[in-house]
Symmetry: C2
Subunit: 115 residues, 2 copies
């Protein structure tokens, strides 16, 4: 099965996880009937200055793969710079947040799998 | 946890699944201890003309998200063009293949989750 980019509609969140600015979240896994453990496979895009606030994952992990742009990642309380090609991992019980500190969109894959 | 692009080494496969040409597969999920059901979360890149041969998935699903480039996707026996922003889904028991028909690398995310 194939879903074209234009067939998938991003959800717009203006203060994701208590953050700020626009997050456009395309939940690709909503378009197929995947395994129960696959909570979310999504393409996320933060506009410049926008931020997904810090939040903790319970009973699941999340991994980001940064496709384009640059930003700051809150890695369970420690702030680090991130850019295209980097991968992050938040295990069950830990937290994270992400902010676009550049002038272009920050685009990344967000994968959540339950334990 | 963060893994920088330069810290993750791609595996080079010259005839992936009976295909041809170079596939560079960065298995990001090899760098963290994720849930058992998460078989693979990877960044894949096919050089121009390269191909992952048709293969069937048993006991698991695979989804691709096309990041860059253009190609042809074999969707369980039906050949269709694909490009940046498209998403594919191969459920348990079905098959797929992918070929780079462009002049630039074809880069995509490959996600495999067991049933």
């Amino acid at each position: 099965m194939i879903k074209r980019a234009v067939e998938m509609k991003p959800l717009i969140d203006l203060c994701a996880e208590g953050g700020r600015g626009e997050l456009a979240l395309t939940k690709m896994s909503d378009y197929f009937n995947g395994p129960d453990k696959l909570e979310m496979f999504a393409y996320a895009e933060l506009e410049p200055g926008a931020e997904v606030g810090y939040h903790v994952h319970i009973g699941e992990m999340e991994s980001y793969y940064i496709i384009t742009g640059e930003g700051t990642y809150n890695d369970n309380g420690v702030s680090v710079p991130i850019k295209s090609g980097d991968m992050t991992y938040t295990p069950n019980g830990e937290g994270h947040g992400i902010k676009n500190t550049g002038t272009a969109p920050l685009g990344f894959i967000a994968l959540i799998v339950k334990d």
